[in-house]
């Protein structure tokens, strides 16, 4: 029941974000979308993922987006509005993606998957949270992807710092 409430909220706010012309309202409705997706994660017993979603996307990415919109809009004393371009191509690609995703989901046949029918609803099984398991997995099975991701972020950070510095010609 709660799932449908949050799913509906996510879809409505997501649709508003795409359809509104005002960039700032789009940013704020993105907040609502991210919050409802975090709530859906909580309902799926993924507490760590939910809080990480809040931390990274709401606390980091969304604030950055809003800052960007606020600093760059009102260039000529009027708010920046998004405009419709590439209508035909956009609709075609969106429809094709929808068909592809729908076909994949249909082919997967969720309700007949064996592990889904056998699994227990008590996912946490006495554990208070998923943090310990995630930590152990990150340091053993997935240590290489984890380190590569951190390296990638470091490179992106250095690149951003390099682009942002004034290049003073002596």
């Amino acid at each position: 029941m709660l799932f449908y409430v949050f799913a509906l909220l996510a879809i409505v706010s997501g649709a508003y974000m795409v359809l509104t012309r005002n960039l700032l309202y789009a940013g704020f409705s993105l907040l609502l979308t991210l919050l409802s997706v975090a709530a859906i994660y909580v309902l799926l017993f993924a507490d760590f993922v939910a809080v990480t979603q809040l931390m990274v996307y709401v606390g980091g990415v969304l604030v950055l987006i809003l800052f960007g919109i606020m600093l760059s809009s009102r260039v000529h004393d009027k708010s920046v509005m998004s405009e419709n371009v590439n209508v035909g191509w956009g609709i075609t690609i969106a429809l094709l993606t929808l068909i592809g995703l729908g076909y994949t989901i249909w082919q997967a046949g969720f309700s007949s998957l064996p592990w889904l029918q056998q699994t227990d609803t008590d996912v946490l099984a006495g554990q208070k949270s998923t943090v310990q398991l995630i930590g152990i997995k990150l340091m053993t099975d997935f240590v290489l992807p984890f380190e590569i991701a951190s390296l990638l972020l470091l490179i992106a950070l250095m690149g951003a710092a390099y682009i942002a510095t004034d290049k003073q010609k002596v």
Partner: protein
């Protein structure tokens, strides 16, 4: 639902006392009298201020973005108040005991930032916009040293659960499910051979279990002043240049909510500092041979005495920190923007990174 109402009532009470204390402390430090008329020693002043604000007209500026302007105070207060959900008040009393409370608190506070931007933009006012921008830049920057200081505590305690961290810092250690056979040693090091599990008191507080957390506590306290926009980090609401900061256009009820959110933030960061570093709801008095001070001042867990003692110690420690915040406001001049950023990025963050490394090494000595 009950926890929601109780926490809200408690918070309102603390904020009203704090607003009164702020004026009295300010007056004392400037050799004035402060409020004297309303009630004995002016003690009803802040209650009457709140009543006055509630009666005032709710003005929405004509040029403001009305939807955002109206929504922003609610969002800001909701974000701060949601943080109280994971704060343990006594050994048995906690609104929601989720296992990743510390991480949740850090994340939910960042929602506050979005509300500030909304208020600044919605007001459609230069001062409000500048105030919100400064405030957000400051909060986002100072989250990093604060987060690193909290991380060092989490590494020492090996837990993200506020209640587990609280139990670790006192004589009730073995009462927590999962910690039955844990022992506390002086400074956390078993080789010293002094078992403090039953001594309790100040010797098991986190700043004593791992003395380097004292530095982490100082870093966290300075960063928390910046996060709640308190002097000396109050350039977001610098009266002499910005009039009042992001809430310059607000009046009446909405101003009261913003005011409440700001003071709630002060209370929240002080509570977190007390829980993580200063022994949470544990008594500061240790058991000394036959004088069982710690046992006497802890009460029985689950009974009324346990609740009263726990609440008393938690709130009195919090009020000490809040008093320190008030005192610092009237002691130090405001920092400039460049000094603010210098302090954050070139002083606090490197020290905090060093503390995180040392905390890892200390944890290896503790096991």
């Amino acid at each position: 639902m009950l926890a929601f109402l109780l926490t809200l009532m408690l918070l309102l009470g603390i904020v009203i006392v704090l607003a009164y204390a702020e004026r009295k402390v300010a007056a004392f430090m400037q050799d004035r009298l402060g409020p004297t008329e309303a009630g004995p020693y002016g003690s009803l002043q802040s209650v009457l201020d709140v009543l006055k604000l509630l009666q005032k007209e709710d003005i929405v500026p004509a040029a403001a973005d009305k939807k955002l302007f109206k929504l922003a105070p609610i969002l800001i207060f909701a974000a701060v108040f949601a943080g109280f959900a994971v704060i343990p008040f006594t050994p048995e009393l906690i609104p929601t005991g989720i296992g990743i409370g510390v991480f949740y608190l850090l994340a939910i506070i960042s929602l506050d930032v979005v509300g500030l931007l909304m208020a600044g933009w919605g007001s459609n006012n230069k001062y409000a916009m500048l105030g919100a921008m400064r405030s957000v830049a400051q909060i986002v920057s100072y989250e990093i040293p604060a987060g690193l200081a909290i991380l060092s505590v989490v590494m020492i305690c090996q837990s993200l659960d506020f209640q587990e961290i609280s139990y670790q810092q006192g004589i009730l250690l073995n009462r927590f499910p999962g910690l039955e056979f844990e022992k506390n040693w002086l400074f956390g090091i078993e080789a010293l051979g002094i078992n403090t599990t039953n001594i309790g008191g100040i010797t098991t507080w986190n700043i004593f279990r791992a003395p380097l957390l004292l530095v982490a506590f100082l870093i966290y306290f300075i960063a928390s002043l910046a996060e709640s926009n308190r002097a000396p980090f109050d350039i977001p609401e610098a009266e002499s240049e910005l009039v009042a900061g992001f809430h310059v256009e607000y009046s009446g009820f909405r101003f009261a909510v913003l005011f409440l959110a700001e003071y709630s933030m002060m209370v929240l960061v002080s509570l977190v500092a007390v829980i993580l570093f200063l022994g949470s709801w544990n008594t500061p008095l240790p058991n000394l041979t036959t004088l069982k001070f710690a046992d006497w001042t802890t009460g029985t867990v689950g009974a009324l005495s346990g609740i009263l003692w726990g609440g008393f110690w938690l709130l009195s420690k919090t009020f000490v920190l809040l008093f320190l915040q008030l005192q610092i406001r009237w002691t130090y001049p405001r920092l400039r923007v460049d000094q603010l950023m210098h302090l954050c990025w070139k002083v606090l963050t490197p020290i905090a990174l060093g503390i995180v490394l040392l905390a890892g090494i200390w944890r290896l000595l503790m096991v």
